[in-house]
């Protein structure tokens, strides 16, 4: 009987040790892998798992409308589609898909094929094929057009045999019809009135803040957050095919659509103003022209226009200089139109009265070694009233000297020429007024005639509106109210009083002087046949910083109608008219044209009749007292 080998305990030990070590090693490796998966790659793997299981979708809010004071939409959002080609489907089939699909999109066939092939080659170069698997082939397709494309695609055969197709061909045809093109939702901004009010409305661009559209200019930019609303979020599980399981939603925040902004702008008046500016531009070919119409009692901006304009739908088609809102963003040495301010202060603090006579030095006066001229006129003695009516520089300079440096500076600040008016639009200039410590000895005489300071047209219009409003300076209102997306009222803006700049009696006196300036003075071309008008012309020569450039002038006219109880303040500026001229010859006629149509539009009754001016005034005042014409709604 053979002797069996029975290993002793000492023989078994190394094997057990080896086995134990191997087992330990195995477990250690397993442990290490677990640590690797559970600790080091935890986040990544959890994200991948969640990506397979869950879906998160941002529900885009709908951008609100911009409306005029009557509710006429000026800017609204329309649904659009961006059409994509699926690269996975188009691979090796560009020649097959291109010819039938290009006509559906209204594209050139060669262009489409080239575009897709470029993207395909880039897509194939990527080893992992990560990144977008679709290529945008057309942007901004209307829903109706997209429905048409889908319908046409569902009938398309793509050159495949359709009589007795094999099951493979059927599947391919179905896939091509379903997946060769797909669309994603987009939004487009539509401006039904074209270039009208473009400087106020502004324009939008592609959103970088999570929204599809983002305001870039004007109201669109300044009120972007209000207009954009708030996006919604929807998180839920999805099935194996990637379809959302709506009943497994974990988060469902509904999008809040943007608010509608109702402006104080009256579109009819706006178009009147734009037509008048375009007409003036055609006549005198200025570098630009601008106009703002304000309702003095409330500070509401009824119209604001600049020429040249741009189309907010296609802003890039115009020069960026055309986007500029000259009314609020430009500041000028405005010249004589500013003379109203020192005179109002002089009357208000009582250093002068309207009948006081001032010697105007026969047209040339040297003050502190610097000569001041009356632009060719040789005025001797003029009353204070006549100084403004005939726009005497020397007369106003002497009035300013009577007022004194500190009082004049305080008045200029009080009228708000050193700060933005607060109009809710971007890029408003604050104006430029130097502190008296930086004035030279003769500065006061130059400030009195609108030099050595720079103000915006809006600041000037608001100052005139204060005079028209019995000395009460209002904050300009551009937004009348905000409405919720469903049209219900969210909030209404009320007129805001900034301060009282002159006494009501002074304002009344000033209106009388300004009326004389139109009827007898430099603003005769602004006079209306049936309505009394008050206003002041301004012609400022432009300089390059050292000397005056001949022929380059800034012509302006700011006026109010009716003169007794002004309902409208209209500021017109024409910059560098090629035909030359003055504020009285270039800007005043534009004022008259706008004012005539505006009073007709609002039904403001005539207050001036030949032979019975007193009675006419009473008629006008009674009408004004009985209601607010067509403003009230």
């Amino acid at each position: 009987m053979p002797k069996l080998f029975v290993p002793s305990a000492s023989d078994r030990l190394p094997r057990i040790t080896i086995f134990a070590v191997l087992l330990f090693g195995l477990f250690a490796a397993l442990q290490w892998r677990l640590v690797q998966l559970q600790v080091f790659r935890h986040e990544e793997l959890v994200a991948r798992a969640e990506d397979y299981r869950f879906t998160s979708r941002i529900e885009q809010s709908w951008r609100g409308q911009i409306q005029d004071r009557s509710g006429i939409p000026l800017a609204l959002t329309m649904p659009l589609k961006n059409v994509y080609a699926d690269l996975f489907v188009w691979t090796n089939r560009v020649k097959l898909l291109g010819p039938p699909i290009a006509p559906l999109l209204g594209m050139d066939q060669a262009l489409l094929v080239e575009h897709v092939q470029q993207r395909l080659s880039a897509y194939n170069r990527r080893s992992a094929r990560r990144g977008p698997q679709s290529v945008l082939v057309q942007r901004g397709v209307t829903p109706a057009k997209w429905s048409g494309i889908k319908e046409a695609l569902s009938r398309e055969t793509f050159g495949l045999q359709t009589n007795k197709p094999s099951s493979r061909q059927r599947t391919l045809l179905k896939s091509l019809r379903r997946w060769s093109l797909h669309a994603e939702d987009d939004q487009g901004r539509y401006f039904p009135h074209g270039e009208s009010l473009s400087h106020v409305i502004g324009y939008v661009g592609t959103g970088t803040n999570g929204h599809l559209l983002q305001g870039k200019w004007g109201i669109e930019a300044f009120w972007d957050k209000v207009l954009a609303g708030q996006n919604g979020v929807c998180q839920s599980s999805k099935d194996a095919a990637g379809n959302e399981l709506a009943f497994c939603r974990t988060t469902n925040i509904v999008a809040r659509d943007g608010a509608h902004i109702v402006l104080t702008i009256d579109l009819t008046l706006q178009k009147i103003v734009e037509r008048a500016l375009a007409k003036a531009a055609a006549h005198c070919a200025p570098s630009h022209a601008s106009c703002v119409v304000i309702r003095p009692a409330t500070g509401e901006i009824l119209a604001l226009a600049c020429w040249p304009s741009f189309h907010p739908q296609y802003p890039a088609a115009s020069q960026s200089a055309n986007w500029r809102n000259h009314v609020i963003s430009d500041r000028y040495e405005v010249g004589s139109v500013f003379k109203v301010i020192p005179l109002a202060i002089g009357l208000d603090i009582g250093v002068v009265n309207l009948d006081q006579r001032i010697f105007c030095e026969n047209g040339r006066w040297v003050y502190r070694n610097c000569a001041l001229h009356d632009d060719g006129h040789r005025y001797g003695y003029l009353s204070v009233r006549e100084c403004l009516v005939y726009s005497s520089n020397i007369g106003l300079a002497k009035i300013a000297l009577m007022i004194g440096t500190n009082e004049l500076y305080a008045a200029i600040i009080n009228f708000g020429f050193d700060r933005p008016t607060g109009v809710p639009l971007p890029y408003e200039t604050p104006g430029f007024v130097r502190h008296p410590t930086n004035w030279w000895a003769g500065s006061i005489t130059r400030l009195a005639i609108g030099h050595e300071l720079a103000v915006s047209q809006m600041q000037l219009a608001m100052a005139y509106a204060a005079i028209a409003n019995d000395g009460r300076l209002m904050r300009p209102m551009l937004v009348r109210q905000l409405n919720h997306a469903d049209g219900t009222l969210w909030g209404r803006y009320e007129p805001k009083l900034v301060g009282s700049v002159v006494r009501p009696s002074t304002a009344r006196l000033m209106r009388g002087v300004l009326r004389d300036a139109v009827e007898r003075g430099t603003g005769k071309l602004a006079a209306m046949p049936a309505h009394s008008t008050a206003g002041k012309t301004g012609t400022a020569q432009k300089s390059d910083g050292r000397r005056i450039i001949p022929g380059r002038v800034y012509c302006s006219f700011v006026g109010m109608v009716p003169a007794e109880r002004p309902e409208l303040v209209i500021a017109v500026a024409v910059d560098e008219p090629q035909t030359g001229g003055y504020g009285g010859t270039v800007a005043a006629p534009v004022f008259r044209e706008i004012a005539e149509e505006a009073v007709a539009h609002y039904g403001i009754p005539p207050d001036k009749r030949p032979g019975s001016s007193r009675q006419a005034h009473l008629v006008g005042n009674a009408a004004a007292a009985s209601g607010e014409f067509a403003f009230a709604q």
Partner: protein, 138 residues
């Protein structure tokens, strides 16, 4: 200590040599089985193997059946979920289409209004006579 009903204390298991009393070496289990009957011959704790098997099978079937019920219920629930989700998705799509149509209608209306607005205004002579120029004036 709890007594094992299959192994009464009086009868030691087969092979145990330290059982008190005389050891019957041949058929200890039969003896034990015989001892399990009382004086009247009635069975009191022990079940026959076929019945035990039946009980186990029934129990296991019950458990499997309940589990299958739950699985079927889950499948049914999942199908319901998918069906309802499809209904919701369809409703969402319909709502979206309706909104799109409404918004396009708004755009068309605004376009029409702009056309009317442009036609409403006609220039006039400035002869001092005011007249209505647009739909808003009175």
């Amino acid at each position: 200590m709890r007594q094992n009903p299959f192994r009464p204390k009086a009868c030691p298991p087969s092979g145990e040599l330290n059982c008190a009393g005389p050891v019957k070496t041949m058929y200890p289990l039969e003896d034990c089985a015989a001892n399990n009957f009382g004086s009247s011959g009635q069975q009191f704790t022990h079940h026959p193997p076929d019945r035990r098997f039946t009980t186990v099978v029934v129990l296991v079937s019950l458990v499997v059946g309940i589990m299958m019920l739950f699985v079927c219920r889950e499948i049914h629930h999942s199908r319901q979920l998918h069906r309802m989700s499809r209904v919701v998705a369809a409703a969402d799509a319909e709502r979206k289409q309706w909104q799109e149509r409404q918004r396009m209608q708004l755009v068309r209306e605004a376009d029409l209004m702009a056309t009317i607005q442009n036609q409403a205004h006609t220039p006039r002579n400035s002869n001092g006579v005011t007249r209505i120029l647009s739909t808003r004036a009175r």
